[in-house]
Symmetry: C2
Subunit: 348 residues, 2 copies
DNA sequence: CATTTTTTTGTGTTCGTACACATTTATAAA
DNA sequence: TTTATAAATGTGTACGAACACAAAAAAATG
């Protein structure tokens, strides 16, 4: 078992003082070529790694981090995120990390912009945000860049030169998974339908990706001869619109709902006693899980918002405090949930 | 955003020296009632939390941890564990944690006992082990208890008073999941079979749990009228035995293999062109994944050995170094894998 | 009241790193 | 060679907690 070398050890071995070693490590210059060479050689030979605990104690900085995410009161999908953040707060408190959660209305770009301004006034060291609105997000990201505030994102990926930290999922692939699951469940020939619900705000990229993925699965399958339909439903006429659609399409064998509102679809299907239609949707909302256990919904794809929020924070702190190298893009595994494995995912 | 109070801050506020505050915090006595009360009150009021970084630097202990796990050369199931351990080693090195991996032969209880003895001579601070053999594990656990060595386990749960740290999965539930998946895939009436392969060494508890879970799913379903068969296969007559079984049972609709050797079953099924039999098995061995992508295997249940090993270590270190409260039993979510979501799980 | 003993409180050092500042050595200009 | 200047190297302290030891205050004894 290897000894842990300190700066002092290196200094003694090189016959210099710790100050010189320190200058080499941080290449601050003011070191003679001879000393530089000898110390660098030693450093690599010995595979010196600074004691991160000591380094951190010295730096002793209190990091202020803001989390900006959609208000779970408006869309319950985001509710688990607050738990993930709560966990991060507890865990990171002892390392001098202050985390403040700020909420915005996911149906209102103005709210998003406003809250970002508020955060920018507070000048935190870093921001973790959900860039729900593409245009507005690009705008605020530039601002953060100017202010020298590190930004990390989760759930929604955004293409920006200034941002390079993202925790989320591959949505195209998650669409393919839905397709695979529905195809496997199918008992007879029949059509599939992709349902988008309440698409009034611009999370369209989400659904587009999922739809593309879903369709791509069938493009590859030469055997498949049925249709892939698309159906956009909006409240308050949701129910009547959907019933109309169902009446028009009698050969449905599977439904893919691209959001966590799948329970609304399940509710209607359940009442129609159309029992050979499989349903796949997203997220472990209590309503969805109830339908899953009842058997109305066959599979849920878990986007793991809690873990996304937690990891976005955790990785950011590992980066800030412990210089851990973080992948720019962390794509979480896509969990397939049925009535039997749902339980441990709920607590988690 | 709250200020981080130090011992010195508390001391000043209480009008005493840091030594006295320190004595109160560690209740070492030698403090007057008056001072004790004032300081305790302040401590709770302020919700003082010691700076774990500073505490650790002072303690400055090098922790030696041994990991004892089955040799992946003998059973490739364990191969991902070494990656998980490797990650832990890299990550924890900078915190003064030395991790040494020791392998034993999973087919040989003597090897297990021997390696445990070797570890006990080294006197590490903690041991992470896979208690593959029930009786022998209980024996070595007592020894560790005597030596004051903390033990954490993963993959196999063991019922012992001395051990209270486990990372793994609920195997009963994973059997149920297999049942649910196969039942969902079934296109027509037919029987199911549970296949146990190469059960020469005592991981029987594993398979028993999985079998029980699998059966329990159908016990609840009143609709199910077919049979659940069981079939034990052993090398070297594996293939002939299995073909014999298949010839005898023509009404099979699904196969559940209780280990990672499911690819061996898939191989045979594939060659028999019996195309309406679904297969569910365990673990992301390359052979299994190949069959999954080809379509011979429908679902794999991911036991996540890599993550299990990593988390067992990580949690142990969080406990030793940062006093993080760790749940005695961490049951990882059971991941359902198909050809579409397999990719991110492989790297992970 | 003086002295001893016990109890209580305060001070100083350490952990390893980072950085400011002091000191020494080498080089250039007088 | 002497002095001025720059380059290189060394020293000391802080971060916050922990603990050993010194010091002071209180209590017990003569």
């Amino acid at each position: 078992m290897k000894k842990k070398y300190t700066i002092r050890d290196i200094a003694e071995l090189a016959g210099v003082s710790k100050g010189t070693v320190d200058r080499v490590i941080h290449n601050r210059g003011k070191v003679s070529k001879k000393a530089l060479e000898r110390i660098t050689k030693l450093l690599t030979e010995i595979d010196y790694e600074p004691n991160l605990i000591a380094r951190n104690l010295k730096n002793n900085k209190v990091y202020d981090i803001c989390v900006l995410m959609p208000d779970p009161e408006v869309d319950p999908y985001w509710s688990p995120c607050t738990d993930g953040i709560k966990n991060a707060i507890i865990e990171l408190k002892a390392f001098g990390v202050n985390i403040l959660t700020v909420l915005f209305n996911p149906q209102c770009t103005k709210s998003f912009l406003n809250e970002n301004e508020n955060i920018q006034i507070m000048l935190p060291d870093a921001v973790v945000l959900v860039p729900l609105f593409n245009k507005e997000s690009l705008f605020v990201l530039e601002k953060y860049e100017e202010l020298g505030i590190i930004v990390s994102t989760f759930n929604n990926r955004i293409n920006s030169a200034t941002i390079n930290k993202f925790v989320g999922q591959d949505l195209f692939q998650s669409g393919r998974i839905a397709a695979k699951l529905l195809y496997g469940l199918r008992k007879s020939e029949g059509d599939f339908v992709i349902i988008h619900i309440d698409e009034k705000y611009k999370n369209a990229i989400h659904m587009q990706e999922k739809e593309k993925g879903f369709k791509s699965f069938f493009d590859e399958s030469l055997k498949f001869k049925n249709k892939i339909l698309t159906c956009k439903l909006k409240h308050p006429n949701f129910e009547s619109q959907f019933n109309l659609f169902l009446n028009e399409h009698k050969y449905l064998t599977g439904i893919f709902v691209t959001t966590s509102k799948v329970y609304q679809v399940a509710e209607i299907i359940k009442n129609r006693t159309q029992h050979n239609i499989s349903i796949v949707g997203y997220d472990l909302l209590p309503e969805n899980v109830a339908h899953l256990k009842e058997g109305t919904i066959d599979f849920l794809i878990h986007q793991n918002p809690k873990q996304q929020a937690y990891l976005a924070l955790k990785y950011l702190v590992d980066f800030l405090l412990f210089e851990k190298e973080i992948p720019n893009e962390l794509l979480l595994p896509i969990d397939i949930i049925n009535s039997e494995n749902v339980e441990p995912f709920m607590g988690n």
